[in-house]
């Protein structure tokens, strides 16, 4: 391939974002605290510009660059736009919270954007190396973000825990990658797939490699039994960081799973039954849905509760993945995007409710919200019902599509397990609604939220309803994306 600047065009979103990060990093140095607002505005503008770049550089055909290390296709476009949009929401929710705690520093936004850049690389990864690079960029930024409030012991502890376990998981992943490389001699997914299809590879080595890689993926998703970090990190991190960390990376993790499992190791998938990754995902999915939902029932800390709820949602995403090509992948992608959008809103609302010196993180902090602010309560209610999967919110369709994919794949029993646990799960979402609507408020303090956060939470909450009434709009995008693979 001859070098030509125009061949780099599909990379435009990453280039735009990286340049913006560099500029913002320098500009931020010369701003005094009163003008920090400027960094915030620039960061959001950078993300919006990156979305524009994704849209502008998109084309119908898939493009492969850099000797197979980078792929741009319809799936990467949709996922990048989703993770950038969810990232914008997370940034907006963070402003007031950070300002009140004296944490309003440029690093928050540059680290966040670096994490997003890492995720964009993961989404577009064409091979194990670029995927791993993106993953590490994401992980390192997140470790720093979790410890962003240096004075918070819980935050530092969470960051430490996250770092140690994350490093372990990265090690596992690398180990698995090395085995797959050893087995196939290839690092790019297309090459790996071809080598597996040729049937000349050693299946034992590949199976071991698969197990280790799957552990890495499960860790990133937070699937049982690799979920231990999630509750502690969600709880320990500042709520605005949790909003970011609990939502956007799920989209990248989905892309990682799709790229590795479907594009790379597709030959070790459904055809191999219980020995393939499909069988392994069944176990992970059932454990996640069961443990996540049951343990969330008894949590009083809402951040921790949502962490366990995430684990159960990951179970659903896995169910979509294991249901396989077409419907299965589409439903998993739909579920992931919807989940990220819902989670960022739920944590964002907690950030809005946290005032100076008061963290809203227990369920009783939400008591009587309907009295204090009916609009915010309504938005939170929409998000809770969406997570519970009650129509007319979009969460219902996310679950429905997964169920449909499972039944299509002749796995009726798994569909029954899924719905049974989602009924159990409905209880803890109802507890939140109950606190907001049926209980008397503990605090009468007015809710101070900037116009930016109010608009964002309204858009976010109403999106639950909009996509619940018109799910076809998002579904069509996901279908087109999966078909292009």
């Amino acid at each position: 391939m001859e070098y030509n600047a125009s061949t780099l065009l599909p990379l435009a979103p990453e280039i735009v974002l990286l340049s913006a990060i560099a500029v913002i990093l320098i500009v931020d140095l010369f701003l005094d605290q009163a003008k920090r607002f400027f960094t915030y505005g620039l960061s959001i503008a950078a993300l919006v510009m990156t979305i524009a770049a994704v849209m502008a550089s998109g084309s119908e055909h898939s493009q492969t660059l850099m000797y197979g290390a980078y792929v741009r296709d319809a799936m990467s476009d949709v996922l990048k736009i989703s993770l950038l949009s969810v990232g914008i929401f997370a940034f907006i929710y963070s402003r007031a919270y950070l300002m009140e705690r004296g944490l309003f520093r440029g690093e928050f936004y540059t680290l966040g954007m670096l994490a997003i850049l890492g995720m964009m690389i993961m989404v577009s990864a064409g091979g194990f190396l670029s995927l791993y690079l993106g993953l590490e960029l994401l992980a390192l930024s997140l470790y720093a973000l979790v410890a962003f409030d240096g004075k918070s012991k819980a935050g530092s502890e969470a960051a430490m825990k996250y770092f140690v376990l994350g490093a372990l998981a990265s090690g596992m992943l690398l180990y698995g990658i090395s085995m797959i490389y050893g087995g196939t001699g290839m690092l790019d997914f297309a090459g790996v797939a071809k080598a597996i299809a040729s049937g000349e590879t050693d299946k034992t080595v590949l199976t071991f490699g698969l197990v280790f890689v799957l552990i890495g993926i499960s860790f990133k998703f937070g699937a049982v039994p690799f979920h231990m970090w999630a509750p502690d990190v969600y709880q320990g991190a500042p709520v605005v960081v949790t909003a970011f960390l609990g939502s956007v990376p799920k989209i990248a993790a989905f892309a990682m799973a799709m790229r590795i499992l479907s594009q790379g190791l597709g030959g070790l998938g459904p055809d191999m039954g219980w020995q393939g990754w499909q069988g392994m995902l069944v176990i992970l999915a059932v454990l996640s849905v069961a443990l996540g939902n049951v343990v969330a029932l008894v949590q009083d800390n809402i951040k921790r509760m949502l962490a366990y709820s995430t684990i159960s949602h990951v179970g659903f995403i896995f169910m979509g993945l294991l249901a396989g090509a077409g419907k299965g992948y589409t439903s998993a992608m739909f579920y992931t995007i919807v989940y990220a959008l819902t989670a960022v809103g739920a944590f964002g609302l907690l950030a809005i409710l946290s005032r100076k010196g008061v963290e809203a993180e227990n369920i009783h902090d939400l008591k009587g919200l309907n009295k204090r602010s009916p609009w915010l309560a309504a938005m939170m209610m929409l998000m809770m019902f969406s997570m519970a999967g009650v129509p007319p919110t979009v969460g219902f369709f996310a679950k429905l599509f997964v169920l449909d994919a499972l039944i299509n794949a002749q796995m009726l029993w798994l569909a029954l397990v899924a719905v049974a646990f989602s009924v159990i799960g409905a209880f803890y979402y109802l507890r939140v609604v109950k606190a907001m609507y049926f209980d008397k408020p503990i605090s009468q303090a007015p809710i101070l939220a900037g116009a930016d956060a109010r608009i964002a939470i309204s858009v976010n909450g109403l999106a639950m309803l909009y996509y619940g009434i018109f799910p076809a709009s998002l579904l069509t995008l996901c279908q087109a994306a999966i078909q292009s693979l």
Partner: protein, 504 residues
Amino acid sequence: MTADWPILSVIIWLPVLGGLLVLFSGDKAPNTSRWLALAVAVLTFLLSIPLWTGFDASTAAMQYQENLPWIESFNVNYHLGVDGISMPLILLTTFITILVVIAGWQVIQYKPSQYMAAFLIMEGVMVGVFSALDAMLFYVFWEAMLIPMFLIIGIWGGPNRVYATIKFFLYTFLGSVFMLVALVYMYFQSGSMEILGFHNLKLGLTEQILIFLAFLAAFAVKVPMWPVHTWLPDAHVEAPTGGSVILAAIMLKIGGYGFLRFSLPITPDASHHLDWLIIAMSLIAVVYIGFVALAQKDMKKLIAYSSIAHMGFVTLGFFIVFMIAANPEVQSGGILGVQGGMVQMVSHGFISAAMFLCVGVLYDRMHSREIADYGGVVNTMPWFAAFMVFFAMANAGLPGTSGFVGEFMVILASFRADFWFAFLAATTLIIGAAYTLWMVKRVIFGDVANDRVAALQDVNKREVLVLGSLTLAVLALGLWPEPLVKVMDASITNLVNHIAVSKL
């Protein structure tokens, strides 16, 4: 029959959007939101009347159909339409909602705009349940109904409201998710979500039985049938009057409607196979729950149990069909049972609403539902006593009231199947009279029990309007049920003929 304008969409979305408008009108001027809610409810009712007047009773085909693509890649459509089974229930919904809005006029002082909005949104959603012809649309409306009811009981309910409302939500949610799996399974088999398409879908007996049980989980909870009825007394006792009225008058009917629209026509062989189960559950509801009602000390609980017993008649009437067909001596008359069940549903919609409103009238004044706190109310509230005695008579199935017609038709149909079924069902005429009239005797008659009863004010104009209009409805249906029966006739005949043909 088609109208020039999308009548069904209008009566679904007008109350929903009107409800949102009421919600945004806020509580600064509560009277504005009340009048606005009343205007929306009345307008919706007026707009739903053409459904009846323009209805073509000679055909069983769906009328006023609207069909738009909704989720094209899943072949899910926004498909609406009514037949003789759903149309009367839609009118019942729009009618009862007006009464609920009026009944909550003064009582609800806490956030009246949210209260009114919840009922209006629920009205639209319930009409949607009755008119959806696409299973996915049906399910979305069916579940969406839970949210406003959950809030109504939880926000404006009694002391133990949180327990009651969460129990209500989880019970119904658990029942309906199994229905969802069954619907998706049939979608997988047929490639479409059309309910009418499901009617002609060929299914093996095992499949039918599993699907039937999944539907049973959803509908039996909603009706509710013994032994999954336990959420209902809790929900009724804690719900505000309006919530109880909607719950008893319409939501329970949705379970019965589900049997007619889904269970019977989609799984006729499984229904035939398992009709003994439903008949047994229905008879237990009629007899055993009747005795339970007799033992209640709380008026609302008593009426809640009486609702379960009355709904037992509905399911009995629906499922007696197979036994009648199997009885070599009669061979016909299956239609009578289903018709009786439908008449019973509409009639119970009026009577249970009236009974709960009567208790509401007392509760607003005394803040007690305990029978023991009352006595001699007739001395201070003569007009009210007249209404309450009338509705109690109707509840007990006095000839001339609507309560008699449905029960009589179902008992008549049961005789054609088996004498003992009819015998057991007929005991309700005694037990029902016993628990209703005994309650009336203790509450209304006798000497004035205490000073608070002595200080009671008789019903005001607003309450007379509500109870009076229900009196007219109960009498009209009781004396002249012909129009209702005629409207339903073609659809029910078609249904009974359809289920007589095995799918195997």
